[in-house]
């Protein structure tokens, strides 16, 4: 993978490749405009991945938990609004039970060159502090090189039975 500048597009293909590299077969998602073209649309066409479209985000936590007991890996792909909506399910599965919930969270509306904690959008601004309070580790995905963080983090999440979040800071593109 090639590092690029913050101004260059974030390639969704690199993120998808990293997710596959980690052995993930199931993508559990409620659509997010932020990741729609760069991630969700290509994932829906990908023969190596099974996309399960859910009605609300908390369903994805239950499905991922069930899959994990059967030794199947899943990625939860939602927007920050869905992350906030699903908070009680995240509390239960990711925190209380320390299950390997791997969440990719689109930061729709985040300003390109502003750290999310300083975003003018309240909902974007509180995502990282909430993850901190809940003790959930996370990585910021902003440039192509950041995609290299994904596979090892998912591997570690399943090895240690702990949650992980990936914050998609810029809108990925699909070549």
């Amino acid at each position: 993978m090639q590092a690029n500048t913050p101004q260059a597009p974030l390639q969704g293909a690199h993120i998808i490749a990293a997710v596959k590299q980690a052995g993930v077969k199931h993508i559990l998602s409620v659509p997010d405009l932020h990741t729609s073209n760069g991630l969700l649309k290509p994932i829906a066409q990908d023969q190596e991945l099974t996309l399960i479209r859910t009605c609300k985000e908390d369903e994805t936590l239950g499905i991922a938990a069930g899959l994990s007991y059967g030794n199947k890996r899943a990625l939860i792909l939602v927007q920050w609004t869905g992350f906030l909506y699903a908070m009680n399910a995240i509390r239960a599965m990711a925190c209380d039970q320390s299950m390997p919930m791997c969440m990719m969270i689109g930061l729709l509306g985040k300003e390109p060159d502003v750290p999310s904690r300083q975003s003018a959008r309240f909902g974007v601004r509180v995502v990282e502090p909430i993850l901190d309070v809940m003790g959930i580790a996370y990585h910021r995905i902003s440039v192509d090189a950041d995609a290299e963080l994904i596979a090892p983090a998912i591997e570690q999440a399943y090895a240690q039975s702990k949650p992980i979040a990936f914050l998609i800071e810029r809108r990925p593109v699909h070549a």
Partner: protein, 187 residues
């Protein structure tokens, strides 16, 4: 109307190696009747039992997964029926104890006790959905519920139970979860 304990006792007589996912009052009654390693007690966020079960059904298509849900729980995650209808797992049986009550939360009524859960399931894509309100009918249906191609859905009209003693601490314990994991891996 049906006594849930009698219904679960009848079901337990047919259970062998199926995964049973149960929640709240359904789980309390089931655990008292059939405490076994392949029981999975949906934890924490009320309403997600069928979502946990869907994940299990996808992970283990070789095993029948039976959900013992409640109407109050299902109402907290009604979209699950649409998701299940779309995924259409063949090994999936969803039984909803319908007593019109948030029984585990103090016995308060659900917003509409006349809700047609089987109708909602059918219109969500789960064609094999039925309402059963007599124990004898449920007993007759059980063999099919364990082997027919799913997804299957039963709106089981039951009496409101008592809020008896229950230990969620035991039900959700790490020991039980680990026993379930090992039982699942063993077969």
């Amino acid at each position: 109307m049906i006594d849930r304990k009698q219904a679960w006792a009848a079901l337990a007589r047919h259970i062998t190696d199926e995964i049973v996912v149960a929640t709240y009052s359904s789980a309390t009654d089931w655990m008292a009747i059939a405490d076994r390693p392949l029981n999975y007690f949906a934890f924490g966020a009320m309403g997600l039992a069928s979502s946990h079960a869907l994940g299990l059904a996808l992970a283990r298509p070789d095993k029948r997964v039976i959900v013992l849900d409640g109407d109050g729980s299902l109402l907290m995650n009604l979209g699950t029926l649409v998701t299940i209808g779309a995924v259409a797992p063949k090994n999936f049986t969803h039984i909803v104890g319908h007593n019109g009550s948030y029984e585990a939360n103090g016995g308060h009524p659900i917003p509409n006790r006349q809700t047609d859960f089987a109708g909602i399931a059918r219109s969500s894509g789960i064609a094999k959905a039925q309402r059963i309100n007599q124990l004898a009918d449920f007993v007759r249906a059980i063999p099919g519920l364990l082997k027919d191609e799913g997804p299957l859905f039963v709106d089981l009209v039951i009496e409101q139970g008592e809020l008896g003693p229950r230990s969620y601490k035991d039900m959700y314990s790490r020991a039980r979860r680990e026993a379930f994991r090992q039982a699942l891996q063993a077969g």
